[in-house]
């Protein structure tokens, strides 16, 4: 077991719906998804953000894409149009979640590293190339 930050295991992206901050948390492998599903609880998320979330936290599993949808209520200072937050629409909230520390099996960390390498290998643009989508 190792103490690691969520950023090693998952990607996150966040946005807003009124005063709700919604974070999509995407696991880097199936096993990591299973781990996140039992590890990331509403209580833990609320605790992680200290006093920033004034309302409740809900977590929806999205197993088909190995992700979690995390809903933070009353988390954006009243919503984009009236908030005093510089980050009016909560774009940085997902990155803040990735700071969370968890105790995880080192095998999971290995799987995450494999995914990170695979992303670089498969998608890195070749300098000067002009990759065209293949039309069927």
């Amino acid at each position: 077991m190792a103490k690691i930050q969520l950023k090693e295991l998952a990607f996150a992206r966040s946005g807003d719906k009124g005063d709700v901050s919604n974070i999509g948390l995407m696991a880097k492998s199936k096993n990591i998804y299973d781990f996140l599903l039992k590890t990331i609880t509403p209580e833990r998320v609320k605790e992680h953000f200290k006093g920033m979330i004034k309302g409740g936290v809900e977590i929806y599993p999205v197993p088909n894409i190995e992700s979690l949808e995390i809903i933070l209520r009353r988390a954006l200072g009243g919503g984009a149009t009236c908030t005093l937050r510089f980050d009016q629409t909560g774009k940085s909230m997902g990155q803040a979640l990735l700071r969370m520390e968890v105790q995880a099996d080192e095998a999971l960390l290995k799987e995450a590293e494999t995914t990170d390498r695979e992303i670089l290998r498969r998608y890195s643009p070749i300098s000067g190339s002009n990759v065209q989508p293949i039309k069927r």
Binding site: F11, A12, R13, G15, D16, K17, G18, D19, V20, N22, G24, M26, H48, F49, K50, G51, M52, Y60, P61, V62, P63, N64, I65, S67, E69, I71, G77, G78, G79, A80, T81, C82, L84, R85, F86, D87, K91, S92, Q95, A96, L97, R99, I119, L120, R122, Y123, S124, P125, S129, N130, V131, Q132, P133, I134, K135
Partner: protein, 455 residues
Amino acid sequence: MKEIRIGSGSGFWGDLLEPALEMAENGDVQYIGFDHLAELTMAILNRMKTKNPELGYIQDIIPWMKKLLPISVPKGIKTITNAGGANPLQAAKEVKKIIQELKLGPMKIGVVYGDDILPYIDEIRAQGWKFKNLDTGEEDIERIRKDIVAANAYIGADLIIEELKKGADLVITGRVSDNALYVGPLMYEFGWDYSERYGDRIAAAVTVGHIIECSACVTGGMSNMWQVSERPWEIGFPIAEFYENGEAVITKTLGSGGIVNQWTVKEHLLYEIMDPANYMMPDGIADFTALHLIEEGMNRVRVTNMKGKKRPDTLKVCIGYRDGFIGEGLAFFPWPDALEKAKWAEQWVRERFKRLGVKFEELRIDYVGVNMLHGEAAPIEDKDFNEVGLRIAARTKSREEAEVVRREATHLWTMGPIGASFGVPLDVRPVIALWPSLVPREAVRVESTIMEVSG
């Protein structure tokens, strides 16, 4: 199998224009949807229309259409746009002039309007509908009634379909849901109606609309893939190839920069939604927990097994109301002791506010570069920072009080710690707060019409 290629040409007011032109040129699309409206936009456009009845639409539509239509019209590409904002009929008149100037006619412009319920909101209330606030649970809009400046229903694709059936080459709408700009053409092309039998098909269109409606946000913008996005400065906007069987491929304009892969699609599926099993739109309810994503080539992601349910009986309505002002100030402090200087300056402004007796609804002070974004969730590092900013923001009842905040912050520039640096003072701005609610579908008096442009 019949296939429709539909792309997103704009995801918000102020989006890039070139990707839309490149899509018309090289995207091999039949439709391009343009979304320009955010929650606050309708309030701004309403105010413009009140001052001048010939305004209140997204004026960018004029230079944009001048560039887009000469490319799209000869190719038969149809444009669906909600740039009509608070004044779709006026927007259509302006576009008509452009078509005439450029001699692109004959053309038919479909105009969809009536999403603005403010003129008759009290009649709906008189029938017992209270417009409960979905965020706060407050039961009745009575408390804010006199401050309401906008109330628009997020209408569905019904009348877009109607206008396409009448032969519209271009459809200009008011506050239809962003999603309906894509669902409309797909339902029209495949001949679907809103009955149960097309539930999953429409849900697939709703899902695909959601995936592409924010333009670059699924092609490498705002993405965890930022380091592998190709030529991001030439980012292409997304295109969906939608098949009659309810499957779709998400891709982007041929030869453009950016990236489409399973991760960019996942990111956007999860973006700004609530319950992923019930993504509720005026045209249908999509279940994002059933679908599968398959990467089938460079910048091509196939989406299969999209499911969902029939459309809801209520429409979302966004009510905007005046709710005070925001005053803001900013100063930066350099090394050495940058953080200590910022803390000193914070105390200085707090004491000044006390001395002046300013009343705030809320006051917020952040250290830029230290805790402004991640707040309490970030540890404050113990180091001698190169520079730290102090951001002071306050919400007040009156413009005068907000002015005090702005002015005191500027005094910090000459009375603050050594080295205090500053830019241009920020303007005080009025706050339009939002009250999200629902309205019965049948209470919204939507209308549409064809505006003919001769050749």
